[in-house]
Symmetry: C2
Subunit: 336 residues, 2 copies
């Protein structure tokens, strides 16, 4: 690995054997509803708490992905999971249910691609035959943990984002040469970027520079032309962050064709004004990628995509202590 | 990888180029004081909050490790960090300072070996030239987050453990054949084990079965005789968990010579009765391993050791919701 490089190329082209997305009632009303494997009619999902419901989203996404891959959980060598809850309880309790060797991860909303990058590395390097990567988030558990009680009806500015209630998971396995499969071809692990922003109701603006740095590093490390991908998708900058990132591309001569650049936080709820700038949360990029994007790739919509999951690494406590918001983004390229 | 296997053998034998441990004032009074690279005289460490002090412990441990390895932070391909704070803020803010590509991890107190295992894998598979693994914990920030305000003077039962105020880090690099170095030879990634225990003041008892399962898997996967290691060390079961694990070994015929089995949570404070069952926290196994154990190995005390870091994956919220405590352990073998 060259000094300063932060990308892995997966020579064996590990295969995404299957993927699944599970969502809540609000996601069921969105434009991507048909791309979910399972949609719940209420936010409690027959559980006693939102936190337990969030765990169920991840468990069901993992179960569905395993079912679609046609393998049992005993075959999974490693489960790589993470979420937004304190001590990533959703993932750890899902890992208890799965009973697979478990690597707990935390990168806020970037965890989805941190997990897929590491799962693909393990398979590529023959350190796993099957690796399962999954993340989740729940609007109500996130609001409860990060913000004011929802009963207060606190207003939010138009830069705020709506935490997605969803779980997503993918099974990564070896490339045995079978045709018409989706391959993970590379990953770029991000550095922490902090431009000094402190407003937790404007995460898109805080995270856009991190996405920019990771995307720039990805093209530089791999020496790729900027029009390599049919789709570059960030998740989840929302409308505000998407627009800032477009500006950053332009200012720094990163000539990614802007009609090939989208954001998962915008896609998931379309132009619903009730979500302000767009969706967010570990479940956003996971559900959009493992539900919508891979389905479209299987249908032939795109040959090569780059998924850039972004995360804001703050906590309510760092905000209270006046700290700015450290951000990160991890990118994974998927090819048909 | 065989079905059901959960261990990696590192064929290239990556090298621990350097390691460092930084501690607080209470650790400075303990029997391992001389094995720290830096000891602070007060718990705030010139910061405004305990959380900021905790971050400093990790930053200093990383700095010291880099200094001892004689490499600058620009050479670090990946920093793998984690801690006990909500949203692992200590590690993420330290990653901001380090400015290296960052993989955030969470496995509670097992994070130390989760990080060393992954760092060694990256170097072994030529996916990194230099990887930095580090974790930290701080008694006061942990008490504040997990328990009652210390001002209440709440009493604890003798099964409780004392969160260690310390940070530890190690630089892993390629094996270029230089003699007299310490090598990471294998790692075993644990499954979540939950025996239904619910008492957060008796983590040792909750975690002992997880340590048992990982140790059993390690010897089974690698087909090693039980007397392979000069030292098997868990971190951090404390006296209660240590005694339970000894019983489990005996009951299940895992004939690890009991005089070669120690626990980091017991070592760090010796027989100080003020810590109840012993030390705990991400900083405990990290400081004991990266300070004490590797120093003793360099002095020739042991040729082969197995470090089994244990973690209790609960949160205050899962406890309040009546959940039991899922536990995990990750093992890493180090050879001179």
């Amino acid at each position: 690995m060259l000094k300063g490089h932060q990308s892995w190329e997966f020579a064996s082209r590990p295969v995404i054997l299957s993927s699944a997305a599970v969502g809540g009632p609000f996601e069921a009303e969105g434009p991507l509803a048909e791309d979910f494997d399972l949609l719940h009619g209420d936010t409690l999902m027959k559980q006693k708490s939102w936190e337990q419901a969030e765990k169920v989203l991840l468990e069901e996404a993992c179960d569905k992905a395993l079912e679609k891959a046609g393998i049992s959980k005993e075959h999974i060598n490693f489960f790589l999971g993470g979420d937004l809850m304190n001590q990533i309880i959703s993932s750890s309790f899902a890992a208890r249910t799965l009973a697979a060797p478990y690597l707990g991860l935390f990168g806020a909303c970037s965890t989805s691609m941190e997990g897929l990058a590491l799962a693909s590395l393990l398979v590529d390097k023959q350190s796993a035959d099957y690796a399962l990567a999954g993340t989740c988030s729940h609007n109500s558990s996130a609001e409860k943990q990060y913000r004011y009680p929802t009963e207060y009806g606190a207003q939010k500015p138009p830069t705020a984002q709506w935490t997605v209630t969803a779980g997503g998971a993918a099974v990564v396995g070896r490339n045995d040469g079978t045709r018409n499969r989706l391959h993970v071809t590379s990953a770029t692990i991000g550095r922490v970027v902090d431009m000094g922003l402190t407003d937790p109701f404007n995460m898109g603006a805080a995270m856009a520079p991190a996405a920019f740095h990771t995307i720039e590093a990805h093209f530089r490390d791999r020496q790729l032309p900027y029009d390599t991908y049919d789709l570059v998708i960030t998740g989840d900058l929302g409308r505000v962050g998407h627009s800032i990132l477009c500006d950053l591309f332009q200012r720094h001569g990163i000539n990614i064709p802007l009609d090939t650049y989208q954001d998962a936080g915008i896609l998931i709820y379309g132009d619903n004004p009730g979500v302000w700038s767009g969706g967010s949360g570990c479940g956003c990029s996971a559900a959009v990628t493992y539900g919508h994007l891979l389905k479209k790739m299987r249908q032939g919509a795109w040959q090569k995509i780059l998924v850039v999951a972004t995360g804001a690494l703050l906590s309510p406590l760092t905000f209270q202590q006046g700290e700015s918001i450290p951000c990160i983004a991890h990118a994974v390229s998927i090819e048909a």
